[in-house]
């Protein structure tokens, strides 16, 4: 994406956002609340249309892109987006039916421990359980690009490790995995490329080695985002 700008009324959400994510890499988008992470991801998913600038995902403008494009892009929304009345496995089988060659639902369910609560309606799941179902939903189409908005928020440490393993494995299939996160640990342990955003633009970016040098990621993060602290 190049030079993305987006305003909501008087609020500037994006002010010249420019970065790229590669296939076969995990890209972590790190930044304080209100820095424009979710808006950026939503522009890439085709849920928001930027006021100016250019987004290309797999060479396509995601705004009103066709079904085959949407089939190649996996999405995990921050609010989940799961229908409350369904049970996890019924929902995942249903979402798989939108794809010509989906992932193995049973394997994904077992991998993320969803089988332990497969008969419970989404409404009654805990936050962490919902996160796991939403992550499975994003990966159900074996995507070439996956946009995951805070995929491990609310997961217990074991579930988080499982999710990281799955994301690494997804990356190793050649998928471009893009995660937003508040967790330095997640960025450090998972990401091949880190984009630190602040006030609607990129503050700095690079591999963990490039960014940190002799300082910790935490230190680098605060030095680039401190002025926005209230």
């Amino acid at each position: 994406m190049r030079d993305l700008a987006k305003r909501f009324g008087a609020t500037t959400a994006l002010a010249g956002m420019t970065w790229a994510a590669r296939r076969g890499q995990v890209t972590a988008v790190l930044g304080p609340n209100g820095a424009g992470k979710t808006t950026t991801i939503e522009c890439a998913e085709g849920l928001q249309r930027p006021d100016s600038g250019e987004v290309r995902v797999l060479g396509t403008d995601p705004w009103q892109a066709g079904p085959d494009h949407r089939a190649a892009v996996g999405v995990m929304l921050q609010e989940g987006g799961l229908p409350n009345a369904s049970t996890p496995v019924r929902l995942l089988r249903h979402l798989a039916a939108f794809h010509r060659s989906p992932a193995d639902v049973d394997a994904l369910v077992e991998r993320l421990g969803i089988d332990a609560f497969s008969g419970t309606t989404v409404r009654r799941l805990s936050g962490g359980q919902k996160q796991r179902v939403a992550l499975a939903a994003a990966l159900i189409g074996r995507p070439e690009v996956a946009f995951l908005d805070e995929p491990t928020a609310g997961l217990d440490p074991h579930a988080r490790l499982d999710a990281w393993d799955l994301l690494r494995q997804t990356r190793d299939t050649g998928c471009a995995v893009i995660v937003t996160t508040h967790s330095f640990e997640e960025a450090e342990r998972l990401a091949d490329h880190i984009v630190i955003v602040n006030r609607g633009r990129v503050a700095t970016q690079g591999s963990i080695a490039e960014l940190t040098g002799e300082h910790s990621l935490e230190k680098v993060y605060f030095s680039h985002t401190r002025e926005s602290a209230r």
Binding site: L47, P67, R70, E79, N84, A85
Partner: protein
């Protein structure tokens, strides 16, 4: 790229449009049928209304065999329950929880979702018509069978109008507000809207109002179809007007997230 290379790349293609829409229709229909409150509004309440009307003498439904007047009214009530109240509430909560957004970026897409919702409503209505019709026949209902054709047209138009009205509510108000308002409007349609009690049997001022409401138009149209075997023109025009206006407003105001 050589053919050998392309064949090793797994195809991340969407399933065919028809399959995606039918899958979503099945999913939505199944969800509605598993939901106790929805079933109550869609089947149990209309069936209870029919039993009550069949076994009592009030309210007065006017001239003609009482059961012949009652069944088309209850069918109209069933359409309103599913197409209006049920859709308004389920769409409002789907919007609240981001379901509409997630399905919008899935291979199904927004237009596929709308078509599937409309088909799911029609599936439920078919079930309602079978159950209520059978119950009516049990009570001695004698419809003009030729009236099935105009009744089908009226039902399609009524469904269009009521789904559009439902989306108008669901796409603009908060989910809790939709829940309250959609139920309240259902009661208002039932009490004053000319659904069960024909507009002609209502007090002078109310009867004109009821005839111009989509509820009264659908009720009157279905009664004309099953009692006289005729296509009533005024109800058709009233429903088309409501449908066109509500569709125009809904497509302008509908927000996919709240």
């Amino acid at each position: 790229m050589s053919p050998a290379q392309t064949s090793t790349v797994p195809a991340r293609a969407a399933a065919p449009t028809r399959d995606r829409i039918l899958a979503q229709t099945r999913f939505e229909t199944g969800t509605l049928l598993r939901n106790g409150e929805q079933l109550l509004v869609a089947l149990v309440l209309p069936a209870m209304a029919l039993v009550g009307l069949a076994l009592s003498h009030s309210p007065s439904l006017g001239p003609g065999a009482r059961i012949d007047v009652a069944v088309p009214g209850v069918l109209a009530l069933a359409v309103i329950s599913t197409a209006f109240t049920g859709q308004a509430i389920s769409t409002a909560f789907d919007r609240r929880y981001g379901v509409l957004r997630l399905l919008g970026v899935s291979p199904l897409g927004r237009s596929g979702l709308l078509v599937a919702k409309a088909l799911a409503v029609l599936m439920i209505e078919l079930l309602q018509f079978v159950v209520i019709g059978a119950l009516g026949l049990g009570f001695g209902w004698q419809p003009k069978w030729i009236g099935l054709l105009p009744a089908a047209l009226l039902t399609l138009l009524g469904t269009w109008a009521f789904v559009a009205l439902a989306l108008l509510l669901a796409g603009t108000l908060r989910a809790e507000g939709v829940l309250a308002l959609a139920n309240l409007i259902w009661v208002a349609f039932l009490a004053l809207g000319g659904v069960i009690v024909p507009p002609s049997q209502m007090p002078a001022g109310l009867s004109h109002l009821a005839a111009l409401l989509p509820s009264g138009a659908l009720g009157s149209g279905l009664r004309a179809a099953f009692i006289d075997g005729q296509l009533a023109v005024v109800p058709v025009l009233v429903l088309v007007l409501w449908a066109v206006v509500a569709t125009a407003l809904a497509s302008r105001t509908f927000a996919w997230s709240d």
